[in-house]
Structures are given as structure tokens and as C-alpha cells.
């Protein structure tokens, strides 16, 4: 009876939209056939063909944590400039081990305000891992072994601004702290103006028989430059806007400007060397919150940040001046991961920032590797390859795609407007929803492929096993105990950059339950080459357990038949085995 009442209440609540799953679609529990590799009947219904705003992120992350209390915990790691919570989800099997001692993968998105879909990849990853846990052996084992720290947006203010203020597909890149960009003593006094009130900032053109542009015959929103010996029909006047402050310039001081991805404290440089840098590293509250969290979670062995666009899997160094930080052993690991990324994400290229993109200081990926020794990638989501699954370098490709696959939803047709400075003009062009963000029907596929890449990356954070414990009687009451510790994954417990700077403490291999007379690292077991550790021999310090490699240690003990060997590694986790 009580149960029925409760159910009724629930139905009423859901009908009123009070439930956590307050999406319009009804939860179908029957009548579906599972598609391979996707949760057929998830606890939390989320759809992946649209973008979540701050409220949506807040609700979805709360719903995930509520529906999967043993797999997802949500916390706020700090407040944004405008006071929004920065949500972080810890995703792991909380019933198995200590979440903060498992090898961990950090993931975030949306550091640039307009680069929105990293949030959806991050949300999808948390959702997918939790919903597949228990149904899929690989994912189950992954969450038993590893921890994911996922921040869907590390720039919630900028995200809201991109969605709710008139913008182009590229604005704002900056966060929202007002800055005097034209040095006239005023802040944000002359940004874009949504003259036609459609929520997007498009282009302005003016009829001019001496102009340089004509319409493309098939796609009129595409303006083409005429030959240098010809006159066209139009001149282009830039993005929609007015001279708001009467200084003779249009749109010269809008939202921002600083670049949150020039704010990270590895080889950071100031604004005159690195455009976009702000006062000092982590002077912006959002990045500071991430930094503080990461510094308290030294188990983070790998990291991923999602940007757009261009179809890139980027690794450091960001700056040519920082080449020496990345050395060969680490680059081999990066290469193995990056090349798998190219396979999993058709159309994406594995590139090095300073060499293939531009030479830049203060990026997030450099900080994660430089300060924490964590193997880190930045993916630039969306590439024109995704339109027709072919490399597209034409100017018309996106217009053709828009016409036949989006049914013109990405464009604003030219409409006349009477501009106070330019007179009679026309406004039209591409909406902010297209060009960098994924169209809805491609969003889920992209999210899944990128998640699969980070899953591969996370899977290859160190996994330590004690392969062997063997004993040899030396006579005279002494025994020799030899143990072999193997890292069964590609990422070492210590990147070579980590080793060089003692970023993480060494791995400690200790023996408990024996009286230790001496302890040593075995450099070559066959030839009996060893290095003795004089100080505290029952707790051996092992600098590194290399990826797909083993380390052998040895103790001489005088007492103890039942003992336990424990490996305690900051980035490799804690494992124990008894003889």
C-alpha cells in the first residue's frame, strides 16, 4: 500500500517535471533491442544531439550521481568569475579501493567559451561508463582499477555567454572578466551588436558596384572575391555591429579578452610575449580551481582536454623553447597513444602543438605534463572531414552539407538593415551553431569516438602487478626473497620528466612480516647485479616501473615465513601480495 502511494507520488512528480530525468522523452523500458556498444536501457536518459547549458549540466550531473551513487560522486571544485559552481564528477567503482589512490585520468572541456562540445564528450564519458558498468566486462574492470575525474566545463560563464549572448561561432574565446582591449580606459564598451535580433552574429555586406565580392551562384550566403581585374557587386563590412563608443571603430572592444588556455603555470609568459596571458598563472578562478584539485590528486597519471576545431590530437610541447622537456621515452608513449587516436577518430591527426600548430606558452596540456608529469592530450573536435567522410578543402563543402544534411538550418539568409554608420546594408551568413560545433546528428558519434580514445589512454595508465615472489635459503638462518613487479600498461609510473625533477615520490616496495637484514634493487637477475639500499631496507625505493616492463627487488631476511609485499605508487596505485 505504502509502495503504491510512493509510486503514485513519483508519477505525479515526474508529470510535473520535478523528477531528475525531466527530459521530454518517456523512459522506454520495453520494446528496444540493444545496439552494440551502447547502453540500451540507461538509468539516466540523456540525449546527445544537443548542447547542455549550465542548468542542464547541473541537472544531468546531479542525476548521474543520484542514479549511480557507487560509481559517480559530484562536487563543486570552486566558483567561476560570475559565481557558478564548477562541477567535477569522480567516476570509479567506489566499492573497490580508494578512489584517490587508483591511477587516474582527468578530463575537461570548454576552456574556450565557444568550444562547447568538449562538455558533451565529458558528460557522455561519465554517463557511458556508469551506464555500462556491470553490463560490460571491460568497462567494469576499468572502473574497478581506475578513477576518472571529469569536469564537463571549466568555463561555465563563457559557455553561458556563448549560448545566450549574440555571438559568432568563434566568440567569445575569452572568459567573461571585462578587459579594456583597445586601451581607451573603458571595458567591453564596443562589442558585437545583434542588429537583426536572431541570436547570432553574422556578416554585414553593402551593395557597391565597385566592390570586390559577388554571391556564389548556388549558395548565396557564400561571398566570393572576384578577380583582381574585375569589380563585384558587394563590399563586406565585417561582423554585425555598431560603433557603440563613437571612436571611429566597430566591435573593437567586446567580451573578454584573455585566453584561459594561456594561463597555466608551466613556462608561462606575460601578455607581450604570449598574447592572451592574464596577470599570472591561475589568476583566473576557474583554472585555479582545477589546479588546486589536481595538486591534491597526485594519482592523476593522464589528462585530456577538449577544444574545437580542426580534427587534431595535440600533445606538447606548446612552445619551441620547451622542446627539452619532452624526451624520447615519453614521446614513444605519446606516439603509441596518439596513433591509436588517429585510428579511433577518422579524420583526426596526431600533432605536436609547437611544430604543427603554433608555438604557444601557458597551455593546459603543458602544465599537466610539466608540473605533474601526466601524459596529456588536447583534442580539437570537429573537422570538415566529418561532413562527407572525406578530406574537404573546398569553400562550398560546408554550404552543400548545410543544404542537403542540415536543410539550411545553419544559415541566416541576407536581409536588409539600415545601419547608423553604413546606411543600407544586408545582414546574413553562418549561425554560431555551425562551423566549429558539431551538428546534432554527428555529436554522439564524435563523443563516443573521443571517449573511446580517453578510455584507451586511461586504460594505459600504470597497472602494477606482483608477478612473482620467490625464496631461496642462504643457510645460516638467512633467506633471500625476490619479487618481480610488472607494469602491464604502456604509461610508466614516472614519466622521464617526472624522474628528472622528482615530481612524484619513488614507488615504495615494502615487505611486512619479515625481519629484513638487507634490501636491494636487482638490476640484472641472471648476472646477480644489484644495488643495495642501506637506509630503511624493508621499504625499497623504486624510481620507476616502466610501461610494459618489470622491476625486480630482493631482501635478505632472517625471520618470517608469512609476509606481504606491498607496492605503493603515487600514479600506479597500491597493490599487495602475500607469499
Amino acid at each position: 500500500m505504502k509502495n503504491i502511494k510512493y509510486t503514485l507520488l513519483l508519477i505525479v512528480c515526474m508529470g510535473l517535471g520535478f523528477g531528475l530525468n525531466q527530459t521530454a522523452e518517456a523512459q522506454v523500458t520495453e520494446g528496444v533491442f540493444p545496439a552494440a556498444g551502447s547502453p540500451a536501457n540507461p538509468e539516466v536518459h540523456a540525449s546527445w544531439n544537443k548542447y547542455y547549458d549550465y542548468q542542464g549540466i547541473t541537472e544531468l550531473t546531479a542525476a548521474l550521481a543520484e542514479a549511480h551513487p557507487n560509481l559517480i560522486k559530484r562536487e563543486s571544485i570552486g566558483k567561476s568569475y560570475e559565481g557558478r559552481d564548477i562541477w567535477l564528477m569522480t567516476v570509479t567503482n567506489f566499492n573497490e579501493g580508494n578512489a584517490d589512490r587508483k591511477p587516474a585520468m582527468y578530463i575537461d572541456g570548454n576552456i574556450h567559451s565557444n568550444e562547447i562540445q568538449g562538455t558533451e564528450v565529458s558528460l557522455y564519458t561519465a554517463w557511458y561508463l556508469a551506464e555500462m558498468y556491470g553490463d560490460n566486462d571491460f568497462i567494469t574492470q576499468l572502473l574497478d582499477e581506475k578513477t576518472f575525474y571529469i569536469v564537463p566545463t571549466i568555463n561555465p560563464d563563457g559557455r553561458e555567454n556563448f549560448f545566450k549572448a549574440p555571438n559568432t561561432a568563434s566568440s567569445p574565446r575569452s572568459g567573461v572578466k571585462p578587459i579594456d582591449n583597445d586601451l581607451d580606459g573603458e571595458v567591453n564598451e564596443d562589442g558585437y551588436d545583434d542588429l537583426n535580433g536572431d541570436g547570432s552574429i553574422t556578416m554585414m555586406r553593402r551593395k557597391n558596384p565597385r566592390g570586390q565580392f559577388v554571391e556564389h551562384p548556388e549558395y548565396p550566403e557564400l561571398m566570393q572575391r572576384v578577380g583582381s581585374d574585375q569589380f563585384g557587386e558587394y563590399e563586406l563590412l565585417g561582423y554585425e555591429g555598431l560603433d557603440n563608443d563613437g571612436d571611429g571603430r566597430i566591435n573593437e572592444d567586446g567580451e573578454g579578452y584573455y585566453d584561459p588556455n594561456r594561463d597555466w603555470g608551466w613556462k608561462w609568459q606575460p601578455d607581450y610575449i604570449q598574447g592572451g596571458a592574464h596577470k599570472y598563472p591561475f589568476s583566473l578562478p576557474e583554472n585555479r580551481a582545477v589546479k588546486d584539485f589536481v595538486m591534491k590528486h597526485p594519482n592523476i597519471a593522464a589528462a585530456q582536454s577538449y577544444h574545437n576545431s580542426g580534427g587534431m590530437i595535440l600533445r606538447g610541447p606548446g612552445a619551441a623553447e620547451d622542446v627539452g622537456t619532452y624526451n624520447r621515452q615519453d614521446v614513444q608513449v605519446y606516439n603509441a597513444l596518439g596513433e591509436m587516436g588517429e585510428r579511433l577518430m577518422p579524420g583526426y591527426n596526431y600533432l605536436i602543438v609547437y611544430q604543427d600548430l603554433y608555438s604557444v606558452f601557458g597551455g593546459e596540456l603543458d602544465w599537466f605534463y610539466g608540473i605533474r608529469g601526466a601524459f596529456t592530450f588536447t583534442n580539437e573536435l570537429w573537422t570538415s572531414f566529418e561532413m562527407f567522410n572525406e578530406t574537404d578543402r573546398s569553400r562550398t563543402g560546408s554550404y552543400e552539407f548545410n543544404k542537403h544534411l542540415l536543410f539550411n538550418d545553419a544559415l541566416v539568409e541576407w536581409e536588409p538593415y539600415n545601419h547608423p554608420q553604413y546606411g543600407e546594408i544586408e545582414i546574413g551568413g553562418t549561425k554560431k551553431t555551425f562551423g566549429r560545433a558539431h551538428p546534432g546528428f554527428l555529436l554522439e558519434q564524435m563523443a563516443h569516438r573521443n571517449m573511446a580514445f580517453t578510455v584507451y589512454h586511461a586504460y594505459h595508465t600504470p597497472n602494477l602487478v606482483i608477478d612473482e615472489i620467490s625464496e631461496k635459503d642462504l643457510g645460516g638462518g638467512l633467506k633471500e626473497v625476490t619479487a618481480v613487479i610488472t607494469n602491464t600498461r604502456m604509461i610508466p609510473t614516472h614519466a622521464s620528466h617526472d624522474l628528472r625533477n622528482n615530481i612524484s615520490p619513488p614507488n615504495y616496495v615494502s615487505i611486512d612480516g619479515a625481519r629484513v637484514e638487507a634490501g636491494m634493487i636487482v638490476n640484472n637477475r641472471d648476472l646477480n647485479q644489484t644495488t643495495e639500499q642501506k637506509r630503511n631496507p624493508s621499504k625499497l625505493e623504486v624510481d620507476n616501473v616502466p610501461g610494459m616492463g618489470s622491476v625486480t627487488v630482493r631482501w635478505i631476511i632472517s625471520r618470517g615465513n608469512n609476509y606481504t609485499i606491498t607496492v605503493d605508487s603515487q600514479k600506479g596505485g597500491v597493490v599487495s601480495k602475500s607469499n
Binding site: L183, D247, D271, I273, P281, F282, S283, M295
Partner: protein
């Protein structure tokens, strides 16, 4: 009524008593409470000229004080930031900054200073790392530059696990020497109390190990490598930050103290044209030298030629006033405030320790030459009657059971903090210097203003924007960073005046000392207009006129 009078009398009495105790307390360096009392005293004595603000609180709950001195539109008057105590053990630097403020304000009844304060602002940060500096007053003394944030300085698995120990029971941490033929140290010939590293290329051999006084608590082979704390604020700034070094912190600008001054200077003090640090760096006794290679790369590491010229000029004034030209040059250290103020804040940055061991004269009155600065210091100290050395004394050391171990050496603090009796005259001359520097400030004036009829109903307005100061409106480096404001030249029209030609607003990167530029506008109609020129760090000059 009666009550009120009574209270006032009482207040005066308390005040008098307070200031008397304050004065009498100034026989020695001020601890944090005394420093705070002295600041509060200035705040109550010179309320119309100063404001005292706490930027934040340290881990131990001490305020990071800034005292703003000036009158009128202080945010738009060119300013000098004066900073002491970024290096925590340099308590003299802190004392100098504070005493400067006291001396400047004591002179505020003179015409010179009262006029200066009507056009110039001083921001005084008397003690930037108070938790470290307070250690000067601890029972067990050692030169401490780090705050009390617990750090893992040797990057092992333990925090603060290997501090100093006072082995000879004198409450001072000095040095420890261990006789051992594998040691690399030997006694210095010049003064055999001092130890020096043997130079095998000169055929010298060592017979001692030398460590700081203490034990190897964690038995890792290193002595006192991870004591209490902390981060040295003077290693935590963003220029040439020393990653992973002990005392630098885990990240640049990671400390409350660092961020407090950075945020204040960036956000609230755009009027600063010069930062003067009382600390170890010294480009005042000898100016920096120009190095073309250092400014020809993307990440520049040297001063621009024009800025070096300013450094020379200011250094000359400094030596003339203070006679401290013998103090050793020091171009700064990684992550310090001095270099940050030039390279990342874009201001003219000057630094001096404020004192150095003076020349030592022999009996004939000639300056004595020394190979070792410590040897020189000890001779000087002896002449002053100072007891600056702890004589070597044998101790039993558990880490060296069969060795001869002795503890001794120069006492902490004394070699770079002068006896308190020297403070007053040094503060006097440094006050003179800071007043002189302030007088060299960039100063934008509108001069040669004219209007002329330029035809029917048309008026041409012309004016010269003149920097009447000695220093340029921006350092050459300041021209490059947006954190140094440009000079804004603005014309505002009212009535039915209309602009025919010319810009309503122009930004000017820099005007050199005594430099100027001419601007003209053509306007039509009649009404009034305002021309303004300047920036917070140059002062702002305004002209208003009406065309009828």
C-alpha cells in the same frame, strides 16, 4: 558632554602614552605587532594623507599591509611602490620601508613633501612575508625566508621531516664541520675561523665536511634539507621561476603573499611608474648593463637600452644621496620581485639591500682588500665591537660517532641586517632618495593650447602634449605590455560643436622625458569642449574652453 570631554582627554592620554612606548620600543627591529602598531599610528596621525589596508592574511593570520600615502586623486597620480621583506630574513628591508613611511610623513608639513604628495602616491608594503620575518624573534634563530606553509622541499615522501637542531645549545643555528680526509672543505687562510672549498686546481686539498647545524633526522644522507615551511615569496614570482627548487613552491604565484601584492599592483595600482624593493638585488649602487642578446629573443631576459639609461640616471642619484656605491651589484635571483617588476609588470624596477658591510680601513686609513666577503664582515664587526661569530665548539654528533664534529660560524642575520643603530640614518638617506625618484616621475601636461578661426564657423584647436618629467611615460618594456596604461588624449565636445577632422581619442604608447607631441582638431559650430591627456601613471591634465 562631560563624558565626551573625558573620553577625549583619555584618548589623548592613551595616544601620548602609546606613542611614547612606541618610540621607546624602537631600539630594535620591530616584530609584527610593533610593525602593526607603528602603521596604525601613522594611520591615526596622518589620516588625511594615508590609508592602511590589509590585502590578505597569511597562513599564521598576519596581515599583508599596504600603506597608501598621498592626497587628492591618488589613483591618478604617478606612484612609487616601496616593498620590504619579500626576502623574509632581510628584516632591515622591512624596517627601511616602514621607517621611510614614517620619515616621509614626518616631513609632510614641509612645502617640498606636501606638494609632492599632492601629485604623487606612495604604496608602501612594509613586510611582504611576515610569517617568515617573524622568525627573527624566535627563540631558536636561523635565517628564515620561507613562510609556514608545509612543503616537501626535498620531494621525498615526508613533509618538514628534517629541520635544524641546535647542537651547541646557543639558540643559534650556525654551521657544522666534520674532520674527514674525504671532505672538500678547508680553513680559509684569510681568517681560519671561516671554511672554504678546497680548489684542487690550485693544489689545495680538503679535510672537512661542512653542513648546517643539525642532524640527519630522516637518515637520507642530507642535513636539514626539509625543515619547517615553506615558500620563499621572493622565489615565487613569475619571471624566471625556479621550478622544483626548494622554497619556490609547487607553482609560481601560488602563495597568498605573492598573489596579494600581484593583484593589488595589477588591479588597483595602475598608476605605479616605479617599484623600489628593499631586498638582496642591487641595481642602485651600480646600474644594470645593456646586453643586446638578452633583448633579441622572444623571452627577453635583459633590460632594454633606453631603460638601462634610466637605471644609470637613477643609480647616480642614489649614490649621490646615500653614498652606498660600494654595495655589491646584484642583478636578482630567479622568481624574485625585483625582476618581476620590470619584466612582467613593465615598470622601472629598482632594488637595494639598503646597507652593505662598509669599506674596512687599515691603520693607515687605506681601504683593506679581502678575498672573502665573510672575512671582511668579521673584521668590520670586530671594529664595531659586535660579537658576530660563534666560535667552533666540539659536540657529540650521533650521525658521526667516531669523528670530530664542531659547531660554529657567523651568527644568523647579522651579516646582511645592520645593527639597529644604523637604521635611522640609512632610512633618512633612503627617504631623500625616494623623494628624489618621485620627483623624476613622468608628468603629462597640456601646453601651448590655442584655438584659431579656420574659416567661416570653423575652429582649429591645437595643443602640445608634453611630458615635463624626467622619466618617460612608459618604460620601453612597459610599451609592450598592456598592463602599463597608454597616455589617452581625448576631446569631448558639447553644445552644437561638431568634429570635422581629427580623432576624438588617441592612445600614445609613450612620451619620453621632456618629450612632446602636437595634436590639432578642426571643429564646427559653437559650444564648449574638454581636452584631457594622461594616464594614471603620468597624471591627467585637462583644459576646458568654450567657442562662442
Amino acid at each position: 558632554m562631560k563624558n565626551k570631554i573625558l573620553r577625549s582627554v583619555l584618548m589623548v592620554l592613551i595616544w601620548t602614552f602609546g606613542s611614547l612606548t612606541m618610540l621607546s620600543a624602537q631600539g630594535s627591529y620591530s616584530n609584527f605587532n610593533d610593525l602593526t602598531d607603528r602603521l596604525n599610528q601613522l594611520n591615526s596621525n596622518y589620516g588625511d594623507l594615508v590609508s592602511l589596508e590589509s590585502l590578505d592574511e597569511t597562513a599564521d593570520g598576519r596581515e599583508i599591509w599596504v600603506l597608501t600615502i598621498g592626497s587628492g586623486d591618488i589613483e591618478n597620480h604617478p606612484a612609487v611602490a616601496v616593498v620590504g621583506g619579500a626576502k623574509g630574513s632581510h628584516i632591515f628591508g622591512s624596517e627601511l620601508a616602514l621607517t621611510f613611511a614614517e620619515k616621509l610623513l614626518a616631513r609632510s608639513n614641509t612645502d617640498e613633501v606636501s606638494e609632492l604628495l599632492e601629485t604623487t602616491t606612495f604604496y608602501v608594503f612594509p613586510r611582504l612575508n611576515p610569517d617568515a620575518t617573524e622568525h627573527y624573534f624566535a627563540d631558536l634563530k636561523y635565517e628564515r625566508d620561507v613562510n609556514t606553509i608545509s612543503t616537501n622541499e626535498d620531494r621525498d615522501d615526508a613533509f618538514d621531516e628534517d629541520p635544524f637542531e641546535d647542537l651547541n645549545g646557543d639558540n643559534l643555528i650556525t654551521m657544522m664541520r666534520v674532520e674527514d680526509e674525504t671532505g672538500k672543505w678547508k680553513m680559509l687562510e684569510e681568517d681560519n675561523r671561516l671554511m672554504t672549498q678546497a680548489d684542487i686546481t690550485k693544489g689545495e686539498q680538503g679535510n672537512y665536511h661542512v653542513f648546517t647545524e643539525g642532524m640527519d633526522n630522516d637518515k637520507d644522507g642530507a642535513f636539514n634539507e626539509d625543515g619547517e615551511g615553506g615558500v620563499n615569496i621572493n622565489k615565487n614570482f613569475t619571471f624566471d621561476y625556479p621550478y622544483f627548487e626548494p622554497g619556490a613552491g609547487e607553482n609560481m604565484a601560488s602563495q597568498i603573499e605573492t598573489r596579494a601584492i600581484l593583484d593589488f599592483l595589477f588591479e588597483e595600482a595602475s598608476n605605479v611608474f616605479s617599484v623600489v624593493t628593499f631586498g638582496p638585488a642591487n641595481n642602485l649602487s651600480s646600474p644594470l648593463r645593456f646586453n643586446r642578446g638578452a633583448v633579441s629573443q622572444r623571452v627577453i631576459t635583459g633590460w632594454y637600452e633606453e631603460d638601462v639609461a634610466v637605471n644609470s640616471l637613477v643609480s647616480e642619484a642614489y649614490n649621490e644621496i646615500t653614498n652606498l656605491d660600494y654595495a655589491p651589484a646584484n642583478s636578482g635571483q630567479q622568481g624574485d620581485l625585483f625582476q618581476w617588476a620590470y619584466f612582467h609588470y613593465g615598470r622601472f624596477s629598482f632594488s637595494t639591500p639598503g646597507w652593505a658591510v662598509p669599506e674596512v680601513m687599515d691603520e693607515e686609513g687605506n681601504s683593506q682588500k679581502f678575498e672573502s666577503t665573510d672575512a671582511k664582515f668579521l673584521v668590520w664587526a670586530e671594529q664595531q665591537g659586535m660579537d658576530a661569530f660563534v666560535d667552533w665548539q666540539e659536540v657529540n654528533h650521533p650521525d658521526f660517532p667516531n669523528k670530530t664534529v664542531e659547531v660554529g660560524g657567523i651568527k644568523p642575520y647579522v651579516s646582511f641586517n645592520p645593527p639597529y643603530s644604523a637604521v635611522d640614518s640609512l632610512a633618512e638617506s633612503h627617504t631623500d632618495f625616494l623623494i628624489k625618484l618621485a620627483g623624476m616621475k613622468p608628468n603629462v601636461q597640456l601646453v601651448n593650447f590655442e584655438t584659431e578661426e579656420a574659416g567661416r564657423n570653423l575652429t582649429r584647436i591645437s595643443v602640445d602634449v608634453h611630458n615635463s618629467g624626467i622619466l618617460p611615460t612608459a618604460a620601453r618594456l612597459g610599451e609592450r605590455t598592456n598592463w602599463v596604461k597608454e597616455v589617452i588624449l581625448k576631446l569631448e565636445l558639447s553644445g552644437n560643436l561638431e568634429l570635422v577632422s581629427g580623432d576624438v581619442l588617441e592612445t600614445i604608447e609613450s612620451i619620453e622625458g621632456d618629450g612632446s607631441l602636437t595634436q590639432t582638431w578642426l571643429v564646427r559650430g559653437n559650444g564648449s569642449f574638454t581636452i584631457s591627456a594622461g594616464a594614471p601613471n603620468t597624471g591627467i591634465s585637462t583644459i576646458e574652453q568654450t567657442i562662442r
